[in-house]
Amino acid sequence: MINDMNPRDIVGEFQETVLNLYGGMQRKVFYTGIETPYPDGKLIVSTTDPTGIITHVNQAFIDMSGYTEEELIGAPHSILRHPDMPSAAFKDLWDTVKKGEKWQGFVKNLRKDGGYYWVKATVVPNIRKGVVVGYTSVRRKPSRTKVEECMKLYPTLF
């Protein structure tokens, strides 16, 4: 279950759209053009269950997403999905990790306040006694060159 974004949480002028999320869910989102720079030296870490429901977040995740820990735990990871991200990227992510492999890519994430931040994301399956019990996702600061390449590429993938 995922709630629509609340226009009262948004900072600055915004646009709205409805996203079709993985798993058949829909979400109304509001987004601005305000970027939050990725903090130097930090990693954003989260884990999910096998269906993508968040089970753990670190402080950097909370700080960068703008949500509280209570709002994040139990929510689908797609709570961060930005309308500028093509669904093909997430299909590739799921197809890769479901094969038990590591996925890496550059992602534009949506904050609770409608702003965004770019990350270099890596997702690995958590395999315990041969069974996938969840996924760990670690985000780090991306290179600006790679981000600029993605800003050109991603609009062509819709």
Binding site: K42, T122, R144
Partner: protein, 248 residues
């Protein structure tokens, strides 16, 4: 029969005697004969692990995955409040103030501490820098890394944060930190392996109880630790998964 204990070769040199004191204390507490072998480098230590010679190890997080997944080791404990963090530093006279301003072709000084080097390389990525577009200057110690920067022989250095913080104020004044990692969850651990696994609980109890008597506290002091805290299997698996995501 004597079991073999070893310590990750990136231990602080000042603590060498501390590890021998710890080993003596551990043998007295557990009644198990343990020989401490300090290897001079990661390669010789990894070879001993490959040959199944090691039974107990204070291990670098980089090697923890191999020990758990290939050699059947399990975690015992980690030092309270200690985590491995890295620093990217340049000479104070270098006009660069951000990693993004560094240009390909720079000379990078680093030691062979695998986790510190990995964290350092990750912090250089935002500047589009990688092993292919930098000149490597491997060093034996962090003091050597600092010296290369001060002499202008290297442009950038990767330091273990603890080692950087420990260098003299005079040297620090001549250096400038560009990035300090704040990862918090990557740490060394004491791990127990085949041959001793049936004593895991006994060893854990001894370690966790070290702060309860004066002798134990003295041994901890000689290692530079406040106390040990238990590491359970899932915490170790979490760190291994995390390290897996960081492998470039």
């Amino acid at each position: 029969m004597s079991f073999l204990f070893t310590v990750s070769p990136d231990f602080t040199p000042d603590r060498l005697s501390g590890w021998y004191i710890f080993n003596t204390w551990l043998q007295k507490q557990t009644g198990v004969a343990i020989h401490l072998e300090m290897y001079s480098g990661f390669n010789s230590q990894r070879e001993a692990i490959r040959q199944d010679e090691v039974n107990l190890i204070y291990v670098n997080p980089y090697d923890a995955a191999m020990l758990v997944r290939e050699k059947g080791f399990l975690p015992l404990a980690k030092p309270v409040g200690e985590s491995d963090e890295a620093i990217i530093a340049v000479s104070a006279s270098n006009p660069v103030s951000d990693v993004a301003e560094l240009a390909p072709g720079i000379r990078l000084a680093f030691t062979d501490d695998p986790d510190v080097k990995m964290m350092g390389m990750i912090m250089l990525e935002p500047g589009d820098l990688d092993a292919d577009n930098m000149q490597s200057m491997p060093c034996d110690t962090y003091v050597q890394v600092a010296k290369h920067l001060l002499r202008g022989e290297a442009d950038v250095g990767i330091f273990l944060a603890e080692a950087y913080d420990g260098v003299s104020e005079m040297i620090k004044k001549q250096l400038k930190i560009l990035v300090r990692s704040q990862i918090s969850v990557i740490h060394h651990s004491l791990m127990i392996g085949p041959g001793l696994l049936d004593k895991r609980e006994q060893f854990q109890q001894c370690l966790l109880g070290m702060t309860e008597d004066e002798k134990g506290r003295g041994v901890l002091e000689s290692l530079g630790f406040k106390a040990w805290e238990k590491v359970d299997d899932e915490e170790m698996e979490f760190m291994i998964d995390l390290m897996d995501t960081l492998t470039i």
